[in-house]
Subunit: 341 residues, 2 copies
């Protein structure tokens, strides 16, 4: 049985003494030991080598008193397994040489057995769990189908993903075909993660906030909700929709256990929009981790007071920046760990 | 006297038969006649040559039945005049070789007489107004001080402007010094535009939505409001804060005549957050202009019904994309011009 149940307690709405804390991309480029590994192995090698993925997952666990680990991996391993050979290109980021552009491209996508195509992820979970030794829970994750579609159609990162959006507006039927394929495969993938023992899953909808509320419902939420429905009976599901303040009400009526929010919404508004009863996670501005440790500590505790201690998971409002000094990340985690009402 | 007063009527809250319409960056890269000029003159030459700026301003007026013209220019002419030599770099966009990094850099900035440093803008206004011949009103604009700071400190465009944000979080005193300098100069600039006869001004706060509501109040709104206060007695002021749904309530209590909104908020919510009494402008998703003319026409009229005909200016929710077919932009404008309740 888990020794530290704070994270799961908060997800289940149980009363806690202080909120749990973890950081989005806590195992990442801001840690010197991570950068050392990065110099030896490229990004997808790190994702695809279970021993390395497990090692990286545990790096922040060794450094900070965090209440949950999140498996080191990437949302793009799912489209890779489906036949979209994403690579990480220097100074471009994720890159797909032949983006999805037609119905044929979508029909050609595959859904191989996840045990085979993504076996390295499940192996990484096994190794990580063994090493975690039931100290803290392990989070598994996936991208939202909409966010995966964004990369699949745009072929790379973008500020606005206009190519992906206009693809959907011009060819709604193709868009839904693609979204459903990604959804079905993502569900298989996450169910298998649960079989291997992850304690919760998080769906990252990084680009949901580029859509109007109506389009979000149609192109993103519908599919996120299928994932939630398929998983909710087995593990708590967290949905993080960057910029999706407008959908908090809808999300709060789903079977998700918690909703992630970014810093462009106040804790008070987030509580109000989400009905006041669901666990919220967030929402420290990652750029604020570049100020001083004292300021970070103070602002983090203020954030907790604003969200309230119950039904709350302290986290950043998006991924941590690579140039954050380690002592600043530490100040953030400590501010939560030492919080007293 | 102006022949078409629809735009000013909507700004003043007068009853209208249909909403006025214009498009953000309507004089831009989606027009073939603009692209032809672009091949001959670089971006800032076009901004700085009054004859060219006037010619470009009038291009969409000749093509579409729009109800207002907006002067062709750029928000970065203001920091250029203050001593930040922004250039437009191929495949990078706006670029400043030595971004603002210290108090010294800020103290070195100049505030030359706008008549001298930005005389070309006022000349462009004079020529444009003469050619417009009182057919439709002319809009002048500036960037918000926060948005200008983003470029000045980051040195170029960015998805998240983390460098600019952390500069402000680390050195709030410097940030406010810089913001005040930009504000003072922007006010001089806009007042001179009004002297030269622009009928309204719009403040573009393109990056306000990257801030938390509290930081927005401190780093952006405070300065936007100074601009509004300095201008409101002379002309109607429109404030467009991309992603600033959270500030609509505050903004609606200012002396601004209208608030711009993007497509991530429903017309109903925008009315609610802004108190229901101020004119709103927006909010068609620019990526939707890449669907079919029929769909655009239908969706545009639906948008009008959702905002309501009164106290409303039809527009996009952000700048038009360069690859929008002219007939699609035309469908958007026609849908408004032909709207009947």
């Amino acid at each position: 049985m888990l020794k530290n149940t704070l994270f799961l307690d908060a997800l289940q709405g149980k009363k806690v003494q202080r909120p749990p804390v973890w950081m989005m991309r806590q195992a990442g480029r801001f840690l010197p030991e991570f950068r050392a590994l990065r110099d030896k192995y490229d990004f997808f090698t790190r994702c695809q080598t279970p021993e390395l993925a497990a090692e990286i997952t545990l790096m922040p666990v060794k450094r900070f008193p965090i209440d949950a680990a999140i498996l080191f991996s990437d949302i793009l391993v799912v489209p890779q397994a489906m036949g979209m050979p994403f690579e990480l290109k220097e100074s471009v980021g994720p890159y797909l040489q032949q983006p999805i552009a037609s119905r044929e491209d979508i029909e050609k996508l595959q859904s191989p057995l996840v045990e085979e195509s993504l076996g390295y992820v499940f192996e990484a979970i096994d190794i990580t769990r063994e090493r975690l030794n039931n100290e803290i829970p392990l989070i598994g994750f996936s991208g939202s189908p909409w966010t995966i579609l964004c990369y699949a159609v745009e072929g790379k990162g973008s500020k606005t993903f206009d190519k992906a959006k206009s693809f959907c507006f011009k060819n709604p039927e193709w868009a839904h075909l693609l979204l459903q394929k990604i959804t079905d495969y993502t569900i298989q993938y996450l169910l298998k993660k649960v079989e291997h023992g992850v304690d919760a899953v998080q769906v990252f909808d990084s680009w949901g906030g580029l859509l109007s509320p109506e389009d979000y419902e149609d192109l993103s939420w519908k599919y996120n909700n299928q994932i939630i429905e398929a998983l909710a009976e087995k593990v708590p599901v967290i949905v993080f929709g960057k910029g999706c303040w407008f959908a908090l009400e809808t999300m709060s009526r789903s079977r998700a256990s918690a909703l992630g929010v970014d810093w462009t919404i106040t804790p008070q508004q987030a509580r109000k929009f989400s009905g006041g009863n669901i666990t919220l996670q967030g929402n420290f501005d990652p750029a604020k981790l570049l100020s001083s440790p004292e300021k970070i500590y103070r602002e983090t505790q203020k954030m907790i007071r604003n969200f309230g201690v119950q039904k709350y998971i302290a986290n950043l409002g998006h991924g941590i920046l690579p140039n954050v000094p380690v002592e600043n990340a530490e100040a953030f985690v400590k501010a939560v760990a030492e919080f007293k009402e």
